[in-house]
């Protein structure tokens, strides 16, 4: 019943002479076509003073280019029933447009125009400044955002993973239109992008159209490696935050391997056993992780025991070593100390005895199901192909899938021992300033 390999549409890829990598995944039956452009630029490319530049440029790519003046991109796509959006992370910025299949030329025209010719006028940059502020303010209303931002700023002292992709408030206030234009010119272009097209189309004719539209673009854009390597932590780092909220909230983090590290498969299994699923291969109709995993260790140790109302773990695939985090929101009246002790006891036990045979087997089955169902629909196909391409390569999905299925109990136990070391731990505790009134 469960798959032995990742199930996805047949893929063809080629590279244009200007460096643009193109992936085509036709799905004959699909009523839609989804176009994704992934740039290898994200907050990893920023430095203090220009944090948030990647995200701001992402916004500006909807605000005008020669063929698509302000508002025209949204209109061109939405008026045919399409949807579009973009997102910025530490390692990449992605733009997607899904349209009824007969309108595939629209997103191709848009992307080929704004890849190198977005205007970023002074006026529009200034107008967008408050929008960016507003987006950040909306996130700041959530204690979880404040805590996560603090966790990363404590865990990383040199590496750009230190700041959130939204950027620091002061930098959003300060960044100039010229700096954003310079940033755009440096990182955007054919040499630093992957174009993914999935859905209902004819492979040969779309390949021709891609060559015609994108082949004439100059070879620009650079994938710049991040210079500084984060030195090993020499002791635990802690912070206590307070502010509006419901009940105490805790996040603990440890240094975790990058996607291509040999230790990654065991880390992903660890994530599945602790939190209930792995980010890359999770069952479910959507892309997100579902909220409740009663069979996960953290849930059983914290939620079932009336210490937390929710608890989970997360390892995110990244180009450079990142973090493995555990989060828990306390039940009213439960102290952060008790919550922290409970998490320690779960991680310590996993490092001592490893997972049970059943847990490991369950984790493998879940991953196999995730691999079987992840490619339903053009949009999800475009997302997954681009995601793996920009972090490593589309083929890497198969590689990591097979490595995941070979992970042993001993490897997971050893990984837990190596990961959950107190001297490399970051702990951020959030205490609500005013205990929320009973509703």
């Amino acid at each position: 019943m469960v798959t032995r390999s990742v199930v996805r549409p047949r893929l063809s890829s080629f590279r244009l002479t200007n460096g643009l990598r193109v992936l085509l995944a036709p799905i004959d039956s699909s009523p839609t076509a989804s176009v994704w452009v992934w740039y290898r630029v994200g907050s990893k490319n920023e430095y203090p003073g220009i944090t948030g530049a990647s995200h701001w440029v992402e916004h500006m790519l909807f605000e005008g280019s020669p063929r698509y003046p302000k508002g025209a991109i949204d209109k061109a796509v939405v008026q045919v029933g399409g949807e579009l959006n973009a997102f910025t992370d530490t390692d990449f910025t992605a733009y997607f447009t899904t349209v009824p299949r007969e309108h595939l030329s629209i997103p191709l025209d848009i992307e080929s125009d704004r890849m190198t010719r977005a205007l970023l006028t002074d006026r529009e940059v200034e107008r967008e400044r408050t929008v960016i502020h507003s987006e950040r303010e909306g996130n700041e209303n959530w204690p979880e955002f404040r805590v996560e931002e603090e966790v990363y700023s404590l865990a990383f002292r040199i590496h750009p993973y230190r700041w959130d992709a939204l950027g620091r408030r002061e930098d959003i206030e300060r960044l100039t239109p010229e700096e954003l234009r310079t940033y755009y010119r440096k990182y955007y272009g054919t040499r630093n992008a992957v174009l993914v097209i999935a859905g209902g189309f004819d492979r040969a004719s779309i390949a021709r159209e891609v060559r015609r539209r994108f082949g004439r673009l100059p070879a620009t854009g650079a994938d710049v490696r991040v210079g500084p390597t984060e030195p090993a932590a020499r002791g635990e780092r802690r912070a206590e935050l307070s502010g509006p909220g419901t009940t105490p909230y805790l996040q603990m983090a440890w240094r975790a391997p990058a996607l291509d590290d040999p230790a990654t498969p065991a880390t992903m299994i660890l994530d599945t056993i602790l939190g209930g699923e792995s980010r890359l291969f999770s069952a479910g109709a959507g892309w997100g992780r579902s909220a409740e995993h009663p069979s996960a260790r953290l849930y059983r140790a914290l939620v079932d025991t009336a210490l937390a109302v929710r608890a989970g773990s997360e390892w995110r695939p990244r180009v450079y070593p990142g973090l493995f985090t555990v989060q828990a929101l306390a039940v009213k009246g439960i102290s952060l100390d008790r919550l922290e002790d409970a998490v320690d006891s779960v991680t310590e036990r996993l490092g001592r005895t490893g997972p049970t045979h059943r847990e490991l087997d369950d984790a493998r089955v879940r991953i196999r199901h995730g691999a079987a169902l992840a490619y339903e629909g053009a949009s999800r196909t475009g997302f997954r192909l681009g995601y793996f391409s920009v972090l490593r390569s589309p083929q890497y999905e198969d590689e990591i899938f097979h490595r995941l299925l070979r992970v042993t109990r001993v490897q997971v136990r050893d990984r837990a021992r190596a990961l959950f070391r107190a001297e490399s731990r970051v702990v951020v505790r959030y205490t609500p300033t005013v205990e929320a009134p009973d509703a």
Partner: protein, 423 residues
């Protein structure tokens, strides 16, 4: 009648005890299966003093079912690659299962167990109470949740099912006993008034036969009916909640609106899309974000249920900007009723909404949402097939008239929550 492979054309069968069965063909190429039970078990049926019962039950039904306790059920679903979710609304409760096509019959069995034989312990009940308690607190301290709560409380009178979010309060949730929950389950998870919607490869005849077998123990009682107090249109007013220490003010401007079955629904739907429903193409987004640069999100929402509904325009903005944003929302809403929508704008919006139906057929889960909506509201089997012609037949005059009654700014309430100070 021939069975169809068109996901936009639903097929209806008869299940046991008055239960309706609706089958939808999956989109071509899909590999998953989805099924949903929708029954008259919304929080509108909570008794006075028992507020929170429907929500608690909604969470408990996934805590174990049939012969499986919570852990066994979770593992069983995980090992099939399936998910089980619930959603409780004022009028109804939905339980949905999703997973690989090959195990569709097993998945339907899990759904039937969940509906007919939920299994939970006292500790499950205690856990759900704790989770609901946190949710109640969040509704008070989180600007987005708080402003929604204030808007609904201002629009609907005491005892109205749309007035709250069904989570009760600390006292009511603490008081709810197991026997009350069991009684609620027995009375509200019925065949009559309920529907099972299936999106999958098996033909209607097979689906109906399997549903009949699996749901054969459904109570034969008549479905309870929801009593809806009369709503008097609110006086135009403003509710402000100062929540210091937050970064953003959440703004809502909303009013009472029509039901899903109202003859004006399609025109009101289109009017709302123009206002802020079709976010990127909408007037609110254009005015507040694109032109004004005043907020990250600005949109509107029309919630049309069986017995009535409400609408709201919304935005999140800084403490120094909400005074500019509120009049903009109001002006745009008023303009919708006072001026006809230009033909070109209306045409673009209409074709956009028709075009997006292709996106609803990308996967089983997306197509399933269309089927559940049509089935629950007892719309014709070819409703989604006819939807494009229904929208194309609407005139600017009809859309404006619908906006006047369904998105009426004259009797609207403005609600604000966030760091607004004592202004």
């Amino acid at each position: 009648m021939r069975e169809t492979n068109d996901p936009l054309r639903l097929e209806t069968g008869e299940g046991p005890s008055g239960l309706r069965v609706v089958r939808q063909a999956p989109p071509v190429g899909s590999v998953s299966f989805a099924a949903t039970y929708v029954g008259p078990a919304g929080w509108g049926f909570d008794t006075t003093g028992g507020e929170g019962t429907a929500r608690i039950l909604g969470q408990l039904v996934t805590s174990g079912a049939g012969s499986r306790d919570r852990l066994e059920l979770a593992r069983f679903l995980d090992r099939m690659g399936a998910t089980l979710t619930t959603q409780v609304d004022p009028e109804s409760a939905e339980i949905s299962v999703w997973g690989p096509s090959e195990v569709w019959e097993t998945l339907l069995g899990v759904l039937a167990d969940t509906v007919l034989r939920p299994r939970y312990t006292e500790s499950d009940l205690a856990r759900v109470r704790r989770q609901l308690a946190e949710r109640q607190m969040r509704e008070l301290v989180q600007p987005g949740s708080r402003v929604d709560r204030e808007l609904l409380r201002a629009l609907f009178p005491e005892g109205h099912p749309y007035r709250g979010t069904g989570i009760g309060d600390a006292r009511s949730v603490a008081r709810i006993r197991r026997d009350q929950i069991d009684r609620f389950h027995a009375e509200h998870f019925t065949g009559d008034g309920a529907v099972v919607v299936v999106t999958g490869r098996p033909p209607k005849s097979t689906v109906t036969r399997v549903v009949k077998r699996l749901f054969s123990n459904l109570p034969t009682d008549r479905a309870p009916s929801l009593s809806i107090p009369t709503v008097r249109l609110p006086r135009r007013r403003e509710v402000r909640v100062d929540l210091p220490g937050r970064s953003q003010v959440e703004v809502r401007l909303g009013g009472v609106s029509l039901s899903r079955g109202d003859p004006q629904y399609a025109a009101a739907y289109l009017a709302n899309e123009v206002l802020g429903g079709a976010v990127l193409l909408s007037r609110l987004f254009h005015r507040v974000r694109s032109r004004g640069g005043l907020a990250y999100h600005a949109s509107s929402h029309l919630e049309a249920m069986r017995q009535g509904g409400y609408w709201s325009a919304q935005a999140g903005t800084g403490a120094d900007r909400w005074r500019k944003v509120v009049p903009m929302l109001r002006e745009e809403i008023e303009r919708l009723s006072s001026e006809s929508i230009p033909g070109d704008e209306l045409r673009i919006m209409r074709e956009s909404r028709i075009g997006e139906m292709a996106l609803s057929l990308e996967s089983t889960s997306e197509a399933h949402e269309l089927a559940v909506d049509a089935a629950y509201h007892e719309l014709p089997a070819d409703h989604w097939k006819q939807w494009p012609s229904l929208l194309r037949a609407l005139t600017p005059r009809e859309v404006r008239a619908a906006a006047e009654t369904a998105l009426d700014a004259r009797s609207s309430v403005t609600a604000l929550a966030g760091p607004i100070g004592s202004a």
